[in-house]
């Protein structure tokens, strides 16, 4: 098993690094973000409709390494690698076992959705790292340090995209399930709010100042209000790349971040994930939600956390695929991860804002970590089942590697991979 997991991580690294600078021109929305990073470097106004941090990160990279495609994408690569490492630690800590961490590292590494956003100068990979960091923070008890760290993380995530405020939900969930709320714990948790507000205001102010724009706190508030109003009006869903959040379960409309065709040979970067991971993770989440509704959160929280043993369940040994014992033994971790999934989905579920598959990336990161915890739990009951699943993940990753790493392939080979008409 260790060899397979290592192969998945190695394959994932290779897919991220192969022809990393290709294409040398922009792919997908890079022209928005790289252009605005250049604007920051030249002290010109930022006309993009997201807060400044993501573009400032690109600007730092360009300042340090030069203005070329490798350098634009380097921050995404680094954040993608951090997501793997942090996701692994988060899984290991939340599910109280090294195996969950190893599975998380392997699955996050060998998933095309994660790979694609490690290879493009876009902002959503940064938010995926935010989701992984939030889950890692959730594995620590509430203290002044974790509250301040949570506030900083919340501020940083919201300074990349406003939807980054979603990291607040898993933190709140974690702090709620760890212990009963007391006045002291309430005050500690509340510390996160001013820290987050200061972080957002400071970064926003810095972005405006760098762009030679008015940057008092009132200017910051006005500009945030302007951007929020602008986003609230983007509801026509007319862009052909848009997709409703319900369709992300399949997904119905993965994005082609880059495609080139020369003399019948195609090179592509698709945001389609590893279908073995994607479909299993989505099914697991749906089954988990149904089970949570059935057994209730109280029963999940009452079980001894991290014991690895479910409470007696009718005197029968549970099947390896039975979800209820997993929830009863790992309930807190599952609830916190579901809160992360729901938090990042909420803006698209609760509003009619135009949505795209990439909005699912942070939720998907959390789903992969949930899947890793479940597979580790299964492994302790049926090593064979976990082994077979891991082999399937590896085979799917190898099959789809060409469209996650710009490897040349023929049109029939591409059609065989993108077999749904909407893909």
């Amino acid at each position: 098993m260790a060899l397979l997991l290592l192969a998945l991580v190695a394959l994932g690294l290779w897919m991220r690094l192969n022809a990393f600078g290709y294409p040398q021109s922009f792919q997908f929305d890079e022209h928005h973000f790289v252009e605005n990073a250049r604007n920051y470097l030249n002290h010109r106004a930022d006309w993009n409709d997201h807060p400044p941090l993501g573009k400032l990160i690109l600007a730092i990279s360009i300042r340090l390494g030069g203005d070329n495609s490798v350098v634009w994408r380097l921050p995404s690569l680094l954040f993608g690698l951090v997501t793997i490492v942090v996701g692994a630690f988060a899984a290991a800590r939340l599910f109280r076992g090294r195996a969950a961490g190893l599975f998380a590292a392997a699955f996050l590494s060998a998933d095309g959705f994660m790979v694609a956003y490690s290879r493009a100068a876009l902002l959503d990979g940064f938010l995926a790292t935010g989701a992984a960091l939030a889950l890692l923070l959730c594995s620590f008890e509430l203290s002044l340090v974790t509250a301040v760290a949570g506030g900083v993380l919340l501020g940083l995530a919201a300074s990349i995209k406003f939807s980054g405020v979603a990291v607040a939900l898993p933190l709140l969930a974690a702090w709620s399930v760890q212990q009963r709320w007391t006045r002291r714990r309430g005050v500690l948790a509340a510390c996160a709010i001013p820290v987050a507000a200061l972080t957002v205001a400071g970064l926003y102010q810095y972005g405006l100042a760098v762009a030679n724009q008015p940057h008092s706190l009132i200017d910051v508030a006005n500009d945030i209000r302007r951007l929020v109003s602008h986003h609230a009006e983007l509801t026509d869903m007319k862009n052909p790349a848009t997709s409703g959040w319900v369709t992300w379960a399949l997904p119905l409309r993965p994005l082609r971040l880059g495609t080139s065709e020369k003399a019948g040979v195609i090179r592509m970067l698709s945001s389609l994930g590893n279908l073995a991971i994607w479909w299993t993770a989505v099914l697991l989440a749906l089954a988990t939600l149904a089970s949570v509704a059935s057994i209730g959160t109280r029963a999940m929280l009452a079980a001894p956390s991290g014991s690895g043993r479910a409470p007696a369940h009718g005197g029968r040994a549970a099947s390896w695929w039975a979800l209820e014992p997993f929830l009863l033994s790992r309930g807190r971790a599952v609830l916190v991860i579901l809160a992360c999934v729901v938090g990042f989905l909420a803006p698209w579920v609760l509003t009619h804002r135009d949505s795209y598959l990439y909005h699912f990336l942070p939720s998907y990161t959390a789903l992969v970590i949930l899947l890793a915890g479940f597979v580790a739990w299964v492994q302790a009951r049926s090593a064979r089942a976990a082994l077979v699943f891991t082999v399937v993940v590896l085979l799917v990753a190898a099959y789809y590697a060409p469209i996650w790493s710009y490897l040349p392939l023929t049109a029939p080979a591409l059609r065989a991979r993108l077999f749904l008409p909407s893909w």
Partner: protein
């Protein structure tokens, strides 16, 4: 016990070998087609808003089959040309220089209607184009007055016809 252990190794080993074979041989024959097999005409789908007609521009002194950018590298002034090349990001996210998009009769009619109504609504254009070559270096911008951004090896094409969806 030993049999189960060896069976696990067999499953894992088969998975690794299968993955390697898929990586090495699962992509079809990727030798380029003969030159004569290249398509002459191709279809490109892009989305535009009315403001793009004024905003999208490229700068460069090269000429590709009679068409060129609206701005000259040397003088940085607009030149008189009926259907200049403009940068577009296709739906499949390829950067292309296209000549004749907003000059196409159906697109021009849509543009006039949108401007008259004060609409900034986005439209999807389904265009047949003929490749005119590759611009080894061109500078592009997406907003009028913004800084030029250098790009390399951009495929350029001339619009034959567009349909507004």
């Amino acid at each position: 016990m030993a049999r189960a252990f060896s069976r696990d190794w067999a499953i894992g080993g088969a998975g690794l070998v299968g993955a390697l074979l898929l990586l090495l041989f699962g992509r079809g024959s990727t030798r380029p087609l003969a030159e004569g097999a290249k398509r002459d005409r191709m279809n490109i789908v892009i989305t535009v808003v009315p403001a793009d007609a004024d905003n999208l521009a490229c700068r460069g002194s090269f000429r590709l089959e009679g068409t060129r950018c609206r701005f000259d590298t040397d003088t940085d002034r607009p030149v008189q040309i009926a259907a200049p090349l403009r940068p577009f990001m296709t739906l499949t996210r390829e950067l292309r220089l296209l000549s004749g998009v907003f000059e196409d009769p159906s697109v021009a009619a849509w543009l006039a209607r949108s401007r008259a109504a004060g609409s900034q609504e986005r439209a999807t254009l389904d265009c047949d184009v003929v490749p005119v070559g590759v611009a080894s270096t061109a500078e592009i911008r997406w907003v009028a007055g913004a800084a030029w951004s250098p790009e390399h090896d951009i495929s350029a094409a001339r619009v034959v016809s567009c349909q507004v969806r």
